[in-house]
Protein backbone atom coordinates (compact mmCIF):
# COMPACT_ATOMS: atom_id res chain seq x y z
CA UNK A 1 0.00 0.00 0.00
CA UNK A 2 1.41 3.38 -0.91
CA UNK A 3 0.02 5.47 1.87
CA UNK A 4 1.60 8.81 2.62
CA UNK A 5 3.98 8.79 5.56
CA UNK A 6 3.21 10.41 8.87
CA UNK A 7 2.99 14.14 8.82
CA UNK A 8 4.34 15.34 12.15
CA UNK A 9 3.61 18.92 11.19
CA UNK A 10 -0.08 18.15 11.38
CA UNK A 11 0.05 17.12 15.05
CA UNK A 12 1.72 19.27 17.66
CA UNK A 13 3.32 16.18 19.21
CA UNK A 14 3.92 14.16 16.02
CA UNK A 15 2.09 11.29 17.74
CA UNK A 16 0.42 8.45 15.88
CA UNK A 17 -2.67 8.77 18.07
CA UNK A 18 -3.60 11.97 19.81
CA UNK A 19 -6.65 12.57 21.95
CA UNK A 20 -7.23 15.97 23.53
CA UNK A 21 -9.86 16.78 26.17
CA UNK A 22 -12.21 14.13 24.84
CA UNK A 23 -15.72 14.30 26.30
CA UNK A 24 -18.59 11.98 25.39
CA UNK A 25 -21.98 12.50 26.93
CA UNK A 26 -24.60 9.91 25.96
CA UNK A 27 -27.76 11.88 26.80
CA UNK A 28 -26.70 12.56 30.39
CA UNK A 29 -24.48 9.51 30.87
CA UNK A 30 -20.91 10.78 30.84
CA UNK A 31 -18.79 8.09 29.16
CA UNK A 32 -15.65 10.22 28.76
CA UNK A 33 -14.80 13.21 30.89
CA UNK A 34 -11.85 15.10 29.46
CA UNK A 35 -9.53 12.29 28.40
CA UNK A 36 -6.20 13.31 26.86
CA UNK A 37 -3.29 11.18 25.76
CA UNK A 38 -0.84 10.76 22.90
CA UNK A 39 0.66 7.52 21.64
CA UNK A 40 3.96 7.83 19.76
CA UNK A 41 4.65 5.77 16.64
CA UNK A 42 5.67 2.18 17.24
CA UNK A 43 4.31 1.96 20.77
CA UNK A 44 2.02 -0.82 22.00
CA UNK A 45 -0.32 0.95 24.38
CA UNK A 46 -3.00 -0.72 26.47
CA UNK A 47 -6.22 1.02 27.39
CA UNK A 48 -7.49 -0.66 30.54
CA UNK A 49 -10.39 -0.15 32.86
CA UNK A 50 -13.49 -1.78 34.30
CA UNK A 51 -16.56 -2.45 32.16
CA UNK A 52 -18.20 0.83 31.19
CA UNK A 53 -15.05 2.85 31.95
CA UNK A 54 -14.96 4.37 28.46
CA UNK A 55 -12.39 2.21 26.64
CA UNK A 56 -14.58 1.14 23.73
CA UNK A 57 -16.07 4.63 23.45
CA UNK A 58 -12.53 6.03 23.09
CA UNK A 59 -11.68 3.52 20.35
CA UNK A 60 -14.98 4.13 18.56
CA UNK A 61 -14.34 7.88 18.57
CA UNK A 62 -10.85 7.28 17.18
CA UNK A 63 -12.39 5.20 14.39
CA UNK A 64 -15.00 7.85 13.59
CA UNK A 65 -17.82 5.49 14.62
CA UNK A 66 -18.94 7.78 17.43
CA UNK A 67 -18.77 11.57 17.45
CA UNK A 68 -17.30 13.22 20.55
CA UNK A 69 -19.30 15.78 22.52
CA UNK A 70 -16.13 17.85 22.86
CA UNK A 71 -12.42 17.49 22.22
CA UNK A 72 -10.41 16.18 19.30
CA UNK A 73 -9.13 12.80 18.16
CA UNK A 74 -6.35 12.56 15.59
CA UNK A 75 -4.73 9.62 13.84
CA UNK A 76 -1.41 10.32 12.10
CA UNK A 77 -2.33 13.97 12.12
CA UNK A 78 -5.79 13.53 10.59
CA UNK A 79 -8.78 14.72 12.58
CA UNK A 80 -11.03 11.65 12.47
CA UNK A 81 -14.27 13.62 12.51
CA UNK A 82 -13.27 15.71 9.50
CA UNK A 83 -10.83 13.50 7.56
CA UNK A 84 -12.28 10.10 8.33
CA UNK A 85 -11.36 8.23 5.13
CA UNK A 86 -7.81 9.59 5.07
CA UNK A 87 -7.22 8.57 8.67
CA UNK A 88 -8.88 5.17 8.41
CA UNK A 89 -7.01 4.15 5.27
CA UNK A 90 -3.86 3.93 7.38
CA UNK A 91 -5.45 2.17 10.35
CA UNK A 92 -7.37 -1.00 10.99
CA UNK A 93 -9.44 -2.52 13.72
CA UNK A 94 -10.82 -5.72 15.11
CA UNK A 95 -12.83 -6.60 18.18
CA UNK A 96 -14.27 -9.65 19.84
CA UNK A 97 -17.80 -8.33 19.30
CA UNK A 98 -17.76 -7.89 15.51
CA UNK A 99 -18.39 -10.60 12.96
CA UNK A 100 -17.52 -11.10 9.33
CA UNK A 101 -19.74 -11.62 6.25
CA UNK A 102 -21.22 -15.05 7.03
CA UNK A 103 -21.54 -16.59 3.57
CA UNK A 104 -18.19 -15.44 2.21
CA UNK A 105 -15.04 -17.55 2.22
CA UNK A 106 -12.08 -16.32 4.26
CA UNK A 107 -9.97 -15.34 1.24
CA UNK A 108 -12.93 -13.45 -0.24
CA UNK A 109 -13.46 -11.49 2.98
CA UNK A 110 -9.79 -10.53 3.11
CA UNK A 111 -9.83 -9.59 -0.59
CA UNK A 112 -12.83 -7.30 -0.14
CA UNK A 113 -11.30 -5.54 2.84
CA UNK A 114 -7.98 -5.18 0.97
CA UNK A 115 -9.99 -3.38 -1.73
CA UNK A 116 -11.82 -1.18 0.82
CA UNK A 117 -8.41 -0.11 2.12
CA UNK A 118 -7.11 0.34 -1.46
CA UNK A 119 -4.12 -1.91 -0.81
CA UNK A 120 -1.58 -2.18 -3.64
CA UNK A 121 -1.09 -5.84 -4.54
CA UNK A 122 -4.28 -6.90 -2.77
CA UNK A 123 -3.65 -10.55 -3.58
CA UNK A 124 -0.18 -10.48 -2.02
CA UNK A 125 -1.49 -8.65 1.04
CA UNK A 126 -4.20 -11.28 1.53
CA UNK A 127 -1.62 -14.09 1.36
CA UNK A 128 0.64 -12.22 3.78
CA UNK A 129 -2.18 -11.81 6.32
CA UNK A 130 -3.18 -15.48 5.96
CA UNK A 131 0.41 -16.60 6.55
CA UNK A 132 0.92 -14.20 9.46
CA UNK A 133 -1.91 -15.76 11.48
CA UNK A 134 -1.36 -19.30 10.15
CA UNK A 135 -4.87 -19.68 8.80
CA UNK A 136 -3.96 -21.27 5.45
CA UNK A 137 -6.27 -24.20 6.27
CA UNK A 138 -9.22 -21.79 6.65
CA UNK A 139 -8.69 -19.98 3.33
CA UNK A 140 -11.68 -21.61 1.59
CA UNK A 141 -13.94 -21.89 4.64
CA UNK A 142 -17.09 -19.82 4.89
CA UNK A 143 -17.11 -17.44 7.87
CA UNK A 144 -20.37 -18.92 9.17
CA UNK A 145 -18.68 -22.30 9.62
CA UNK A 146 -15.75 -21.00 11.68
CA UNK A 147 -15.49 -21.44 15.44
CA UNK A 148 -15.35 -18.22 17.48
CA UNK A 149 -11.60 -18.65 17.92
CA UNK A 150 -11.12 -19.11 14.16
CA UNK A 151 -13.29 -16.04 13.52
CA UNK A 152 -11.03 -14.10 15.84
CA UNK A 153 -7.95 -15.15 13.86
CA UNK A 154 -9.63 -14.18 10.58
CA UNK A 155 -10.64 -10.85 12.16
CA UNK A 156 -7.01 -10.27 13.08
CA UNK A 157 -5.91 -11.16 9.54
CA UNK A 158 -8.48 -8.64 8.27
CA UNK A 159 -6.98 -6.06 10.62
CA UNK A 160 -3.52 -6.62 9.12
CA UNK A 161 -4.53 -6.81 5.46
CA UNK A 162 -3.67 -3.16 4.75
CA UNK A 163 -0.43 -3.30 6.77
CA UNK A 164 -1.80 -0.54 9.01
CA UNK A 165 0.36 2.06 10.65
CA UNK A 166 -2.08 2.28 13.55
CA UNK A 167 -4.04 -0.70 14.84
CA UNK A 168 -6.98 -0.68 17.25
CA UNK A 169 -7.73 -3.96 18.99
CA UNK A 170 -10.69 -4.27 21.33
CA UNK A 171 -10.24 -7.46 23.37
CA UNK A 172 -8.70 -9.26 20.39
CA UNK A 173 -7.87 -12.56 22.10
CA UNK A 174 -11.07 -12.91 24.15
CA UNK A 175 -12.17 -16.12 22.41
CA UNK A 176 -8.77 -17.69 21.74
CA UNK A 177 -7.36 -20.72 23.54
CA UNK A 178 -4.11 -20.10 25.49
CA UNK A 179 -1.90 -21.44 22.70
CA UNK A 180 -3.43 -19.26 19.99
CA UNK A 181 -3.53 -16.28 22.33
CA UNK A 182 0.17 -16.79 23.00
CA UNK A 183 0.93 -16.94 19.26
CA UNK A 184 -1.18 -13.87 18.55
CA UNK A 185 0.57 -11.89 21.31
CA UNK A 186 3.95 -12.85 19.86
CA UNK A 187 2.83 -11.89 16.37
CA UNK A 188 1.50 -8.53 17.54
CA UNK A 189 4.70 -7.82 19.43
CA UNK A 190 6.90 -8.86 16.50
CA UNK A 191 4.98 -6.91 13.85
CA UNK A 192 4.78 -3.82 16.04
CA UNK A 193 8.54 -3.98 16.48
CA UNK A 194 9.44 -4.86 12.85
CA UNK A 195 7.05 -2.46 11.12
CA UNK A 196 6.92 0.32 13.69
CA UNK A 197 3.20 -0.26 14.02
CA UNK A 198 1.33 1.65 16.72
CA UNK A 199 -1.18 -0.48 18.61
CA UNK A 200 -3.90 0.63 21.01
CA UNK A 201 -5.31 -2.47 22.68
CA UNK A 202 -7.97 -3.14 25.29
CA UNK A 203 -8.13 -6.41 27.18
CA UNK A 204 -9.33 -7.85 30.45
CA UNK A 205 -6.42 -10.30 30.38
CA UNK A 206 -3.83 -8.57 32.54
CA UNK A 207 -1.16 -11.19 31.90
CA UNK A 208 -1.52 -10.50 28.20
CA UNK A 209 -1.12 -6.77 28.73
CA UNK A 210 1.96 -7.22 30.92
CA UNK A 211 3.53 -9.25 28.11
CA UNK A 212 2.84 -7.02 25.13
CA UNK A 213 2.22 -3.45 26.26
CA UNK A 214 4.94 -0.83 26.53
CA UNK A 215 2.53 1.43 28.30
CA UNK A 216 -0.78 1.28 30.12
CA UNK A 217 -3.50 3.91 30.23
CA UNK A 218 -5.91 3.19 33.07
CA UNK A 219 -9.32 4.68 32.66
CA UNK A 220 -12.08 4.77 35.25
CA UNK A 221 -15.46 6.51 35.17
CA UNK A 222 -14.47 8.19 31.90
CA UNK A 223 -11.28 9.69 33.33
CA UNK A 224 -7.66 8.77 32.81
CA UNK A 225 -6.36 7.79 36.25
CA UNK A 226 -2.95 6.37 35.42
CA UNK A 227 -0.46 6.46 32.57
CA UNK A 228 2.75 4.45 32.94
CA UNK A 229 4.54 1.26 31.96
CA UNK A 230 3.26 -1.99 33.51
CA UNK A 231 6.33 -2.11 35.80
CA UNK A 232 5.89 1.49 36.93
CA UNK A 233 2.22 0.87 37.68
CA UNK A 234 3.06 -2.14 39.84
CA UNK A 235 5.52 0.03 41.78
CA UNK A 236 3.17 2.97 42.05
CA UNK A 237 0.28 0.87 43.37
CA UNK A 238 2.63 -1.41 45.37
CA UNK A 239 1.00 -4.36 43.63
CA UNK A 240 2.30 -7.82 42.80
CA UNK A 241 0.95 -7.68 39.26
CA UNK A 242 -1.17 -5.66 36.90
CA UNK A 243 -4.31 -7.50 37.94
CA UNK A 244 -3.92 -6.16 41.48
CA UNK A 245 -3.47 -2.65 40.07
CA UNK A 246 -6.62 -3.11 38.01
CA UNK A 247 -8.64 -4.30 41.02
CA UNK A 248 -7.49 -1.32 43.10
CA UNK A 249 -8.45 1.14 40.39
CA UNK A 250 -11.80 -0.59 39.81
CA UNK A 251 -12.66 -0.46 43.55
CA UNK A 252 -11.62 3.17 43.82
CA UNK A 253 -13.79 3.97 40.82
CA UNK A 254 -16.76 2.16 42.33
CA UNK A 255 -16.35 3.98 45.64
CA UNK A 256 -16.05 7.31 43.84
CA UNK A 257 -19.38 6.64 42.13
CA UNK A 258 -21.03 5.68 45.45
CA UNK A 259 -19.56 8.57 47.46
CA UNK A 260 -18.91 11.45 45.07
CA UNK A 261 -16.81 14.22 46.65
CA UNK A 262 -18.29 17.67 46.23
CA UNK A 263 -16.19 20.69 45.44
CA UNK A 264 -16.07 21.67 49.12
CA UNK A 265 -14.74 18.26 50.04
CA UNK A 266 -18.03 16.99 51.51
CA UNK A 267 -19.54 13.78 50.18
Amino acid sequence: MTAPGPDPARTPTGAAIEVVDLVKDFAGALALDGVSFAVPRGQVCALLGPNGAGKTTTIHILLGLTLPTAGTARILGHDVTRERSLALRRTNFTASYVQLPARLRVHEILRIFAEYYEVDDAKGAVEEAITLFRIEHLRHQRAQLLSSGQQTLVGLAKAFVNRPEVLFLDEPTASLDPEHAFEVRNTLRRVASDQGMTILITSHNMVEIERIADRVLLISNGRLVADASPAQLRDEYQAADLEEVFLTVARQGRNARRHPITEGGQP
Binding site: K24, F26, A27, A31, T56, T57, H60, L63, G64, L65, T66, L67, R84, S85, L86, L88, R89, N92, F93, A95, Y97, V98, Q99, L100, P101, A102, R103, L104, R105, E108, R111, I112, F113, E115, Y116, Y117, E118, R142, A143, K158, F168
Partner: protein, 263 residues
Protein backbone atom coordinates in the same frame (compact mmCIF):
# COMPACT_ATOMS: atom_id res chain seq x y z
CA UNK B 1 -15.48 8.85 -4.16
CA UNK B 2 -13.15 5.87 -4.66
CA UNK B 3 -14.29 3.67 -7.55
CA UNK B 4 -12.08 0.88 -6.24
CA UNK B 5 -14.12 0.78 -3.04
CA UNK B 6 -17.33 0.95 -5.09
CA UNK B 7 -16.10 -2.10 -7.03
CA UNK B 8 -15.36 -3.85 -3.72
CA UNK B 9 -18.99 -3.30 -2.64
CA UNK B 10 -20.09 -4.90 -5.92
CA UNK B 11 -17.70 -7.80 -5.34
CA UNK B 12 -19.12 -8.33 -1.84
CA UNK B 13 -22.67 -8.38 -3.20
CA UNK B 14 -21.68 -10.77 -5.97
CA UNK B 15 -19.98 -13.21 -3.56
CA UNK B 16 -22.98 -13.08 -1.22
CA UNK B 17 -25.50 -13.65 -4.00
CA UNK B 18 -23.51 -16.56 -5.37
CA UNK B 19 -23.57 -18.24 -1.95
CA UNK B 20 -27.18 -17.45 -1.13
CA UNK B 21 -29.70 -19.70 -2.91
CA UNK B 22 -32.57 -17.68 -1.42
CA UNK B 23 -31.24 -14.45 -2.88
CA UNK B 24 -30.70 -16.08 -6.27
CA UNK B 25 -34.04 -17.87 -6.48
CA UNK B 26 -36.00 -14.94 -5.08
CA UNK B 27 -34.95 -12.80 -8.04
CA UNK B 28 -37.14 -14.90 -10.34
CA UNK B 29 -39.58 -16.55 -7.94
CA UNK B 30 -41.94 -13.69 -7.00
CA UNK B 31 -41.87 -11.82 -10.33
CA UNK B 32 -42.66 -15.00 -12.27
CA UNK B 33 -45.36 -15.99 -9.79
CA UNK B 34 -47.05 -12.59 -10.14
CA UNK B 35 -46.73 -12.66 -13.92
CA UNK B 36 -48.33 -16.09 -14.16
CA UNK B 37 -51.15 -15.01 -11.82
CA UNK B 38 -51.85 -11.78 -13.71
CA UNK B 39 -51.35 -13.48 -17.04
CA UNK B 40 -54.21 -15.88 -16.29
CA UNK B 41 -56.32 -13.05 -14.83
CA UNK B 42 -55.95 -11.13 -18.10
CA UNK B 43 -56.77 -14.33 -20.04
CA UNK B 44 -59.93 -14.70 -17.98
CA UNK B 45 -60.96 -11.07 -18.43
CA UNK B 46 -60.42 -11.38 -22.19
CA UNK B 47 -62.40 -14.64 -22.39
CA UNK B 48 -65.26 -12.92 -20.53
CA UNK B 49 -65.32 -10.31 -23.28
CA UNK B 50 -64.39 -7.43 -21.01
CA UNK B 51 -61.84 -4.80 -21.90
CA UNK B 52 -60.04 -1.79 -20.44
CA UNK B 53 -58.67 1.27 -22.26
CA UNK B 54 -55.40 0.29 -23.93
CA UNK B 55 -56.32 -3.38 -23.79
CA UNK B 56 -56.44 -5.86 -20.94
CA UNK B 57 -52.81 -6.85 -21.49
CA UNK B 58 -51.75 -3.39 -20.33
CA UNK B 59 -52.22 -4.77 -16.82
CA UNK B 60 -49.17 -6.93 -17.52
CA UNK B 61 -47.26 -3.82 -18.60
CA UNK B 62 -48.08 -2.26 -15.21
CA UNK B 63 -46.95 -5.38 -13.41
CA UNK B 64 -43.64 -5.58 -15.30
CA UNK B 65 -42.77 -1.91 -14.95
CA UNK B 66 -43.75 -1.76 -11.26
CA UNK B 67 -41.25 -4.58 -10.71
CA UNK B 68 -38.54 -2.04 -11.57
CA UNK B 69 -39.50 0.21 -8.64
CA UNK B 70 -40.11 -2.67 -6.24
CA UNK B 71 -36.93 -4.52 -7.22
CA UNK B 72 -34.69 -1.40 -7.13
CA UNK B 73 -35.99 -0.55 -3.66
CA UNK B 74 -35.75 -4.12 -2.36
CA UNK B 75 -32.26 -4.74 -3.73
CA UNK B 76 -30.96 -1.46 -2.28
CA UNK B 77 -32.29 -2.47 1.13
CA UNK B 78 -31.04 -6.05 0.82
CA UNK B 79 -27.53 -4.90 -0.10
CA UNK B 80 -27.45 -3.03 3.21
CA UNK B 81 -29.23 -5.59 5.35
CA UNK B 82 -26.79 -8.43 4.63
CA UNK B 83 -24.23 -6.44 6.61
CA UNK B 84 -26.75 -5.81 9.40
CA UNK B 85 -27.63 -9.53 9.59
CA UNK B 86 -23.93 -10.47 9.48
CA UNK B 87 -23.06 -7.85 12.14
CA UNK B 88 -20.47 -6.52 9.70
CA UNK B 89 -21.64 -2.89 9.87
CA UNK B 90 -18.96 -1.97 12.42
CA UNK B 91 -16.18 -3.36 10.19
CA UNK B 92 -17.47 -1.32 7.25
CA UNK B 93 -17.81 1.93 9.16
CA UNK B 94 -14.37 1.42 10.72
CA UNK B 95 -12.90 1.17 7.20
CA UNK B 96 -12.31 4.02 4.73
CA UNK B 97 -15.50 3.02 2.85
CA UNK B 98 -17.91 5.97 2.88
CA UNK B 99 -21.71 5.68 3.04
CA UNK B 100 -21.86 7.28 -0.43
CA UNK B 101 -19.52 4.62 -1.89
CA UNK B 102 -21.59 1.84 -0.32
CA UNK B 103 -24.72 3.45 -1.74
CA UNK B 104 -23.31 3.73 -5.28
CA UNK B 105 -22.03 0.12 -5.21
CA UNK B 106 -25.41 -1.10 -3.99
CA UNK B 107 -27.18 0.99 -6.64
CA UNK B 108 -25.17 -0.53 -9.49
CA UNK B 109 -25.77 -4.05 -8.16
CA UNK B 110 -29.49 -3.32 -7.69
CA UNK B 111 -29.67 -1.99 -11.23
CA UNK B 112 -28.19 -5.24 -12.57
CA UNK B 113 -30.58 -7.38 -10.51
CA UNK B 114 -33.63 -5.26 -11.36
CA UNK B 115 -32.74 -5.37 -15.07
CA UNK B 116 -32.38 -9.16 -14.94
CA UNK B 117 -35.75 -9.62 -13.21
CA UNK B 118 -37.57 -7.30 -15.60
CA UNK B 119 -35.91 -8.78 -18.70
CA UNK B 120 -37.14 -12.20 -17.60
CA UNK B 121 -40.69 -10.84 -17.18
CA UNK B 122 -40.63 -9.08 -20.56
CA UNK B 123 -39.59 -12.28 -22.34
CA UNK B 124 -42.07 -14.45 -20.43
CA UNK B 125 -44.97 -12.04 -21.04
CA UNK B 126 -44.14 -12.04 -24.75
CA UNK B 127 -43.76 -15.83 -25.00
CA UNK B 128 -46.67 -16.97 -22.84
CA UNK B 129 -49.19 -14.12 -22.73
CA UNK B 130 -48.77 -12.41 -26.09
CA UNK B 131 -47.78 -9.10 -24.54
CA UNK B 132 -44.85 -7.04 -25.79
CA UNK B 133 -43.86 -4.24 -23.42
CA UNK B 134 -42.00 -2.50 -26.23
CA UNK B 135 -45.35 -1.81 -27.90
CA UNK B 136 -45.59 1.03 -25.38
CA UNK B 137 -42.93 2.62 -27.59
CA UNK B 138 -41.27 5.93 -26.83
CA UNK B 139 -42.67 6.17 -23.32
CA UNK B 140 -40.79 3.08 -22.11
CA UNK B 141 -37.27 4.58 -21.68
CA UNK B 142 -38.61 7.52 -19.64
CA UNK B 143 -40.84 5.17 -17.66
CA UNK B 144 -37.89 2.91 -16.83
CA UNK B 145 -35.77 5.88 -15.72
CA UNK B 146 -38.47 7.37 -13.48
CA UNK B 147 -39.54 4.07 -11.93
CA UNK B 148 -35.94 3.10 -11.17
CA UNK B 149 -35.32 6.56 -9.70
CA UNK B 150 -38.33 6.15 -7.42
CA UNK B 151 -37.10 2.70 -6.36
CA UNK B 152 -33.64 4.01 -5.52
CA UNK B 153 -35.08 6.93 -3.52
CA UNK B 154 -37.29 4.50 -1.59
CA UNK B 155 -34.32 2.18 -1.05
CA UNK B 156 -32.16 5.02 0.24
CA UNK B 157 -34.86 6.04 2.74
CA UNK B 158 -35.35 2.43 3.88
CA UNK B 159 -31.59 1.97 4.41
CA UNK B 160 -31.57 5.09 6.59
CA UNK B 161 -34.53 3.81 8.63
CA UNK B 162 -32.76 0.49 9.23
CA UNK B 163 -29.51 2.28 10.14
CA UNK B 164 -31.41 4.38 12.66
CA UNK B 165 -33.69 1.75 14.20
CA UNK B 166 -31.68 -1.44 13.60
CA UNK B 167 -32.71 -4.78 12.21
CA UNK B 168 -36.13 -4.55 13.92
CA UNK B 169 -37.09 -2.01 11.26
CA UNK B 170 -36.45 -4.38 8.36
CA UNK B 171 -40.19 -4.96 7.94
CA UNK B 172 -40.20 -1.45 6.42
CA UNK B 173 -37.96 -2.72 3.62
CA UNK B 174 -40.47 -5.36 2.62
CA UNK B 175 -43.64 -3.34 3.14
CA UNK B 176 -42.98 0.25 2.04
CA UNK B 177 -43.24 -0.35 -1.73
CA UNK B 178 -46.54 -2.22 -1.18
CA UNK B 179 -47.82 0.75 0.84
CA UNK B 180 -47.18 3.03 -2.13
CA UNK B 181 -48.49 0.66 -4.81
CA UNK B 182 -52.27 1.38 -4.36
CA UNK B 183 -51.67 5.07 -5.11
CA UNK B 184 -49.12 4.47 -7.90
CA UNK B 185 -51.79 3.96 -10.61
CA UNK B 186 -50.12 0.71 -11.67
CA UNK B 187 -53.27 -1.17 -12.66
CA UNK B 188 -55.93 1.55 -12.72
CA UNK B 189 -56.01 5.28 -13.54
CA UNK B 190 -55.78 7.95 -10.84
CA UNK B 191 -59.35 9.06 -11.60
CA UNK B 192 -60.84 5.93 -10.01
CA UNK B 193 -59.41 6.95 -6.61
CA UNK B 194 -61.37 9.13 -4.15
CA UNK B 195 -60.54 12.85 -4.47
CA UNK B 196 -58.22 13.06 -1.48
CA UNK B 197 -56.30 9.95 -2.61
CA UNK B 198 -55.94 11.43 -6.09
CA UNK B 199 -53.94 14.25 -4.49
CA UNK B 200 -51.72 11.66 -2.81
CA UNK B 201 -51.35 9.72 -6.08
CA UNK B 202 -50.28 12.87 -7.91
CA UNK B 203 -47.39 13.15 -5.48
CA UNK B 204 -46.13 9.68 -6.48
CA UNK B 205 -43.70 9.64 -9.45
CA UNK B 206 -44.91 6.22 -10.64
CA UNK B 207 -48.53 7.36 -11.01
CA UNK B 208 -47.47 9.91 -13.65
CA UNK B 209 -45.54 7.20 -15.50
CA UNK B 210 -48.49 4.81 -15.63
CA UNK B 211 -50.89 7.59 -16.64
CA UNK B 212 -48.52 8.48 -19.49
CA UNK B 213 -48.21 4.81 -20.46
CA UNK B 214 -51.99 4.37 -20.65
CA UNK B 215 -52.37 7.58 -22.69
CA UNK B 216 -49.73 6.43 -25.19
CA UNK B 217 -51.17 2.96 -25.62
CA UNK B 218 -54.73 4.30 -25.90
CA UNK B 219 -54.25 7.48 -27.98
CA UNK B 220 -50.63 7.35 -29.15
CA UNK B 221 -50.10 10.58 -27.22
CA UNK B 222 -46.86 11.26 -25.31
CA UNK B 223 -47.76 13.13 -22.11
CA UNK B 224 -44.45 14.92 -21.70
CA UNK B 225 -45.80 17.00 -18.81
CA UNK B 226 -46.68 13.81 -16.89
CA UNK B 227 -43.23 12.33 -17.48
CA UNK B 228 -41.62 15.65 -16.52
CA UNK B 229 -43.63 15.70 -13.30
CA UNK B 230 -42.57 12.13 -12.51
CA UNK B 231 -38.91 12.98 -13.05
CA UNK B 232 -39.15 16.16 -10.96
CA UNK B 233 -40.81 14.25 -8.12
CA UNK B 234 -37.99 11.68 -8.30
CA UNK B 235 -35.43 14.45 -7.85
CA UNK B 236 -37.36 15.86 -4.88
CA UNK B 237 -37.74 12.46 -3.16
CA UNK B 238 -34.13 11.52 -3.80
CA UNK B 239 -32.98 14.83 -2.27
CA UNK B 240 -35.26 14.25 0.74
CA UNK B 241 -34.01 10.67 1.19
CA UNK B 242 -30.37 11.80 0.90
CA UNK B 243 -30.93 14.56 3.48
CA UNK B 244 -32.65 12.13 5.84
CA UNK B 245 -29.79 9.61 5.38
CA UNK B 246 -27.17 12.24 6.20
CA UNK B 247 -29.10 13.24 9.33
CA UNK B 248 -29.45 9.62 10.42
CA UNK B 249 -25.73 8.95 9.86
CA UNK B 250 -24.94 11.93 12.10
CA UNK B 251 -27.46 10.83 14.75
CA UNK B 252 -26.20 7.24 14.99
CA UNK B 253 -22.65 8.52 15.40
CA UNK B 254 -23.72 11.00 18.09
CA UNK B 255 -25.61 8.25 19.93
CA UNK B 256 -22.86 5.66 19.39
CA UNK B 257 -25.32 3.22 17.83
CA UNK B 258 -22.94 1.79 15.22
CA UNK B 259 -21.16 -0.21 17.90
CA UNK B 260 -24.31 -1.65 19.43
CA UNK B 261 -25.73 -5.10 18.69
CA UNK B 262 -28.34 -5.16 15.96
CA UNK B 263 -26.47 -2.68 13.76
Amino acid sequence: MSWRRVRAVLLHQWYDTRRSPVRTIELAYWPVLWLVLWGFITNYILSAGADVPGGVRILLGGLILWELTYRASLEMSWAFMIDVWDRNILNLHASPLTPAEHFVGSLIFSLIRASAAVALLVVMAWLFFDYNLLDAGRVVPAAVLILLGMGFALGLAIRAIILRYGSNAEIVAWSLPFLVQPVAAVFYPIEVLPGWLQAVANAVPASHVFEALRAFVTDGEVLAARLGAGLALDVVYFALAATYSARVYHTVRVRGLLGRPGY
